[in-house]
């Protein structure tokens, strides 16, 4: 058991720092976009009223209606409770972005995101929210405050290498690779992904349609190739993302895939979130920067060198 650490050579926390900044910035942007529809989506008298939402929700989930009930004896209305949760969420995200009181901010963001977006919005949420929930859970434990953070002034960044950082990175990498791989398998079982109809349908269905692409029906090979390409990327993720030789071009391909989703389907938050995940987890090096030779020669101890002179 003592030797298990050797499989996880010390790594820096830079990928997590970058991911923290990217996720906080994207969720803040999403928060501002959601603000005009806040009460419509999550309010007591929104599109799904609280009593119905509570009936349909998972029995263990805590949502805005629960918080409003707890605060009601103190004279807080349901709308005020929702506004308070939302403002608290945005403030916590700002602290997370800056890396100030990072761990506390991560706890608050996780709790408030769960209550507001994930639980109260269980009918309205989509892939971006699910990935955010997963990543915010990892932020509770992972070394997100050790670089590019106001808190990091208390830690010497160059020395912040640890086997734990490598373990944390591997866990999140494996989780994300798994989601892509299983999604690829599920897609490969659908005929639409093989004959290109999925690309045609997703680009023409009113919910996602951004452009008039009626011309695509006359070039059926194009959607077919795009469908196959997506399958290759998702099914090949566990291999291409981890092999050092294929990693960089693969990350570029994933950025292009999600860039296409951003432009073609208008899933802006989702696309940015997935680009951030791919770039931070596989595109940013966690390897410690070797100390300059001269500095090393001054600081390294060798058995034959005099310790004191």
């Amino acid at each position: 058991m003592k030797n298990l650490k050797r499989f996880f050579p010390p790594a820096t926390a830079k990928p997590f720092a970058a991911l923290r900044i990217a996720v906080a910035a994207i969720l803040l942007g999403q928060g501002f976009l959601l603000a005009p529809g806040l009460h419509e989506l999550y309010g007591e008298n929104g599109l799904i009223q609280n009593s119905l939402a509570s009936y349909l929700a998972h029995p263990f989930s805590i949502n805005v209606a629960h918080v409003a009930q707890w605060l009601a004896p103190y004279g807080v209305t349901s709308a005020q409770a929702l506004n308070g949760i939302f403002v608290g969420y945005l403030v916590s995200l700002s602290f997370l972005l800056l890396g100030w009181r990072t761990r506390l901010a991560a706890v608050m963001v996780y709790l408030l995101h769960s209550v507001l977006i994930y639980n109260s919005g269980f009918l309205s949420s989509y892939g971006a929210d699910t990935y955010a929930h997963i990543v915010l859970f990892y932020f509770l434990f992972f070394p997100i405050q050790k670089a590019y953070a106001m808190d990091a002034t208390r830690f010497p960044v160059s020395a912040a290498t640890s086997s734990y950082h490598r373990l944390a990175l591997r866990v999140l990498q494996v989780h994300i690779a798994g989601t892509y791989f299983v999604s690829g398998i599920a897609k490969s079982m659908g005929e639409q992904w093989w004959n290109g109809e999925i690309i045609w349908r997703s680009l023409t269905v009113p919910q996602f349609s951004q452009w008039d692409i009626s011309w695509m029906a006359f070039i059926p090979l194009l959607p077919k190739v795009l469908g196959w390409g997506t399958l290759v990327l998702e099914l090949g993720y566990p291999v291409f993302a981890f092999l050092p030789r294929t990693r960089k071009p693969f990350v570029v391909m994933m950025v292009l895939l999600h860039g296409g989703i951003f432009v073609g389907l208008g899933l802006h938050t989702f696309s940015l979130f997935m680009i951030a995940l791919n770039v931070c987890l596989f595109g940013i090096s966690a390897e410690p920067v070797p100390a300059p030779a001269a500095a090393r020669s001054r600081t390294e101890y060798t058995p034959n060198s005099p310790v004191f002179s």
Partner: protein
Amino acid sequence: MTDRKFNFALGLAAFHLVMVAAGLWGSNLFVKTPLASYYEVYGKLTGALAQIKFFAPGLKSQIRVVAEGTMPSGEKFSTTLLQGNREVDLRTYNILAAFWAPSISDKADVQRSIVASWAGKLFGQMPALEAVEIRVEAVELPSMELARHGAKIFWHEIYRASYLKKERHLELVNEKS
């Protein structure tokens, strides 16, 4: 981090990734055991049981809602419940899709409650409104081959209900599905 602490973290990580793998494959490891509900809560809190199969195995239909009513002044209004804000509208579409979700589509009373919730929302927004008719429509997307022959997308009605506002409640006056 000491070796002992590291090994503990490694054990937790391995446990979590087993849960993630089970969740991704859609299998409940503890089904029909007393641990089933704990497993569900764990999955809910950590996201470990989340299945993300974007557009898999294919893209089904899509739902839209058309609500129409007349104000006491005689002025008519029509809305699709969308706001024109992309991030909000994506979520609104998902709420509308709940009407047709596999867990709900065979429960007429729940479907009725969902539509009543939308009607209630409109009455709340427009206090002068006395009656509203809500149509739920599903889109038919032509295949590429049909589109080459000129076929266009069209919407067909799957549900319709009319509501009147009474003093403190709504009254369902007409329903067709």
